[in-house]
Symmetry: C2
Subunit: 192 residues, 2 copies
Amino acid sequence: MSAHRSWQGKVFIATSLDGYIARVDGDIAWLTDPPPNAGHAKPHAGQPVIPGYEEHLASVDHLVMGRGTYEKVLTFGFWPYPQQQVIVLSRTLATDDSRVTVATSTEEALTLLAERGSTAVYVDGGKVIQDWLRRGLIDDIVLTRAPVLLGRGIPLFGPLDTDVHLIHLATTFNDTGMTSSHYRVAVPTGIG
Amino acid sequence: MSAHRSWQGKVFIATSLDGYIARVDGDIAWLTDPPPNAGHAKPHAGQPVIPGYEEHLASVDHLVMGRGTYEKVLTFGFWPYPQQQVIVLSRTLATDDSRVTVATSTEEALTLLAERGSTAVYVDGGKVIQDWLRRGLIDDIVLTRAPVLLGRGIPLFGPLDTDVHLIHLATTFNDTGMTSSHYRVAVPTGIG
């Protein structure tokens, strides 16, 4: 499949240290409004550079997300993807929102991306990320970890049919205790 | 509880990027014998220092582990804790292994640690780590992440009654793609 793709699939996401992207009810205040703590290590000279969110967003021409993520985005009060085309994966969503295209299946989304000549796709939302990892449609992951254990919530990762090996490109951290690692998905042995 | 402890509870453990300490069948070859890959980032000058395993082990006078971890250790062919006293938590284990003391409850283990004046305890094994995190008995965590997604396995973290906030002390990586982060468990707000 990846040999036929024109685009890179990119994940840029944050989780708790125990791997949750949100609490069970969708709350992410633990990420966006964490308790202040002066004890976190300070970044130091010579830390590697990892793409920031603005750089990541500017690098993609499309987003693909599930309905849950789309509905979360609608609560933001502004539309955060002015330069990107957005595909919402949903079998049932009916909308006249001209900022998005609804695809009723992954195959339909892939056809759209091919027709439009996409070069880079920001894949977002836990379910879509899990499914596209299983399908070999993810090439690049920037994963940020917040310094908290939640104990339960909506997990980022899920079941896979085979191991997914990653190439570690860089790891950095900031003074709020967040660490970020940048990985490239390794081509499965035997394909390259 | 922590105000009455003489010892620090320490975790030093590795997981896959999706949070598993072993496959469902206990296999850890993905960690101990990973596929070679020349593409991982090289460590660089100025990386922070994190306690290595030898340093960690030398810093503790006791280990506490579950029966599963104890039985895994027995398969190693050597006894890796020559300088430490080892407490195995098990309600049913009968053994004449003079290298360990069996405690049939956490309370019994805590009494032993207090009687012996322990100053630092290496808490090991997924179930014991999860339970002792819930009980507020863990103070220090060094967590290494291997650059692989397994999709399923034995998870390191589990349910908690409340969030556990962590202070990020340092993060580093090596040229096999492993990242390591050192955290201190924050004292819960309202207790300090």
